[in-house]
Symmetry: C2
Subunit: 426 residues, 2 copies
């Protein structure tokens, strides 16, 4: 499925033009391999930020960077007393990620300002483009690093986290890419204001209901075991009888299917939950075809909009582990450190404001839940009135084939532009 | 459990001394990391062969190498008309393997000759120590390379196999370590004679019944998928609902538990079978905690003494795959190339001969089956009268903790030495 995006009649053509240019420019930067790879706090991420800086300066915006290395570009509004509207997303990617996750939200923010400039409209409140750092927690085992830095929520302990590929500290990578971790810890964050993020859905709901975009009312939180290990007993594949084995692969399979059944039960009871074992390795130099595996590494990602569901799923996990360890002598699980991100309720008044702009275009976007975590969750947790606009996408997300029609994003931007032009905001 | 081996009263002390010296010398050679790593057709394997050459020359044996790079050392017997007895094993290891698999059999062969020399006994038939190459099929996806080369069974196609760590051809590695692949293909193998191999059991049977050694009557064959792949659909861990997922990890877990149940059913019906998924990887750069896995690599090792059981287990595997692909849209298995090693019946007359030597020491070693494949299988397939003597071991095998008491091996060598000294052989 490919799209050749055409300008929609009656819509401001600079929106689509800007979106396509920004996506093309940013996506020229990648580490190589399939899809796009721009690690958090890497020179590639910084180069992507530099492109947005250039674009914002060309629009006459005031550009600065905060101590966390986030890029902040301001378009002054008519009334300096109104809380500003920040709008943006991130430009880092997972390894071998897609062309839209993060990038689309930054392109949309620039397209909004371009559209305002092209029509000569000055919005009521300051409009601030924010390009955050390090949203993808696959590089550092810490959630929402850049947006938590921007809102005064990053902890000194977080700065000690190691990047998985380099083994070096977040503080060091941040400093290398223009940040100042010491100053960040001492800084006073900006007063909570308003935050808006455009993002692909990363799920099939909008695509399956033929909706170009939707408005997000809450973001799922996560409970993760990033470095869990299962210990069994190494043995010879042909010599070890079935009865005496403690096979790490079989015990892991037992856990995976048990958690899949538990997930089904939770859904049947109406609870919101996802369960994913995204990374599994029994492929060290010690593993071989002719050996019963004595060890297996895995990670587990549980997500829900409801903290109590996460806690219940975690309890069910531990009960299954106890069952498996009891039933399979020689098997022992070590879940390692648990990390969490809190579910976030978004702003109903911001959602109404976006819906108002859409209504003026004759659109009625659905309200929906975000399965993925996003910078908007960090802003909401910091007390900002926050909203997300989801764009339909397909072929999954966090993968090279991630698909989105830029015209869908342009339509969503037009809706918000209409809302911005029409009144003082939410 | 550690042993400080003591000479057994009444037994020839040079047997234990030789075993311990040879094991110590050979095990000084390893690539590093836990345990012992000497890849097939590597300079480390060649260096281990050179140690045995030196030991054999010191015993006054005639030493040569065949075109496959196997080391062959001859002690002339009294009667050149009798078929010689070849005795030996291999010195390559799996990655991070143990101290005895292969090594013990070579040490035993040298200890036998040392004992004969120390007592002035010349055996009836020629006694030939053979140190084979590349017995461990984890390096090249080919079974029994050295022993098949020694017995005229290696195929030209096998020479094209690539070593998994270097990606280079068997022919090239063979040539580098002193072999001559072209001459090997043109050579006439020696006439089938008699083959004897001492080896650790690689299973718990002897240890659990407190038997120091046993006599092997058959060797299990194998049916392997060394490079199987499972294709699913990449998706976002928080965004993809349970219903639409094609999660490669969950589908793999389904297969593993299904094959474990099938194994249980086969055993209940009295069939001989082992089922092992020894290596599993959903840990490429594309895999991440926050992604549903769209791909998973694995290998599967089925073993049985009965070819028809292997065929039935393979059919059951394919039926399970069809069931899983039907039940889980988006999931597709690609088993890749199948490789096989044939089960081998060993020689009853050779077994009787070893048992006769043991009886003269007052011992009655049990008859048993070999779960692992061994060089003896290749010799038996080539029409050699072959037998194996298994030594009790513990802590599994193909792993750094692999345990064996050198005194158990010395006792088995003494039994064979008694048989050799007593008559013309089997």
């Amino acid at each position: 499925m490919t799209f050749c995006a055409e300008p929609v009649p009656g819509l401001n053509p600079v929106i689509l033009t800007t979106i396509e240019r920004v996506l093309t420019r940013v996506n020229a930067l990648s580490q190589g391999g399939p899809g796009w790879t721009r690690p958090s706090y890497s020179p590639l991420e910084s180069a992507a930020h530099a492109i947005i800086e250039e674009e914002a300066l060309a629009l006459g915006m005031e550009v600065r960077r905060d101590h966390g290395g986030n890029l902040i570009a301001r378009l002054p509004g008519r009334d300096p007393e109104l809380p500003p509207i920040w709008c943006g997303s991130h430009l880092d990617t997972v390894a071998e990620g897609g062309a839209y996750d993060g990038q689309a939200g930054v392109a949309a923010a620039l397209a909004l300002v371009t559209a305002l400039r092209s029509t000569g409209v000055t919005p009521a409140a300051d409009f601030v483009i924010v390009v955050t750092r390090a949203e993808e927690s696959v590089w550092f085992p810490v959630s929402y690093i850049g947006s938590r830095a921007a809102t005064g929520q990053l902890l000194a302990a977080d700065l000690e986290a190691r990047r998985v590929d380099t083994g070096r500290r977040l503080a060091d990578h941040m400093r290398e890419e223009g940040g100042d971790p010491e100053a960040l810890m001492a800084a006073t964050p900006p007063a909570p204001a308003r935050f808006l993020e455009f993002h692909i859905e990363q799920g099939p709901m909008l695509d399956s209901t033929a909706e170009p975009f939707g408005i997000v009312t809450a973001i799922r939180g996560g409970l993760r075991y990033r470095a869990a290990r299962l210990h069994g007993v190494w043995a010879h594949s042909g010599g070890a009888p079935r009865d005496g084995r403690a096979d790490a692969v079989v015990a892991f399979a037992d856990l995976v299917l048990a958690m899949d059944r538990i997930w089904e039960d939770f859904l049947a009871k109406g609870a919101d939950l996802t369960v994913t074992f995204g990374r599994v390795s029994a492929a060290s130099p010690a593993h071989a075809m002719a050996k019963v595996a004595g060890e297996l590494d895995f990670c587990l990602d549980l997500r829900s909009e409801d903290v109590s569901v996460l806690d219940a799923a975690d309890a069910a996990l531990k009960a299954e582990i106890a069952r498996i360890e009891g039933a399979r002598p020689g098997i022992r699980f070590d879940l390692g450190q648990q990390s969490r991100s809190r579910p976030a309720q978004l702003s109903e008044s911001m959602a109404e404001w976006v819906a108002g702009g859409a209504a003026r275009l004759g659109l009625n976007p659905p309200r929906m839940l975000s399965g993925g975590g996003h910078d908007a969750a960090a802003f909401a947790t910091a007390g900002w009135e926050s909203v997300m606009v989801f764009i339909r996408n397909w072929n999954g997300s966090h993968c090279p084939d991630e698909g989105m029609n830029p015209a869908d994003l342009a339509l969503a931007v037009e809706a918000v532009c209409t809302a911005l032009s029409g009144n003082a905001g939410p």
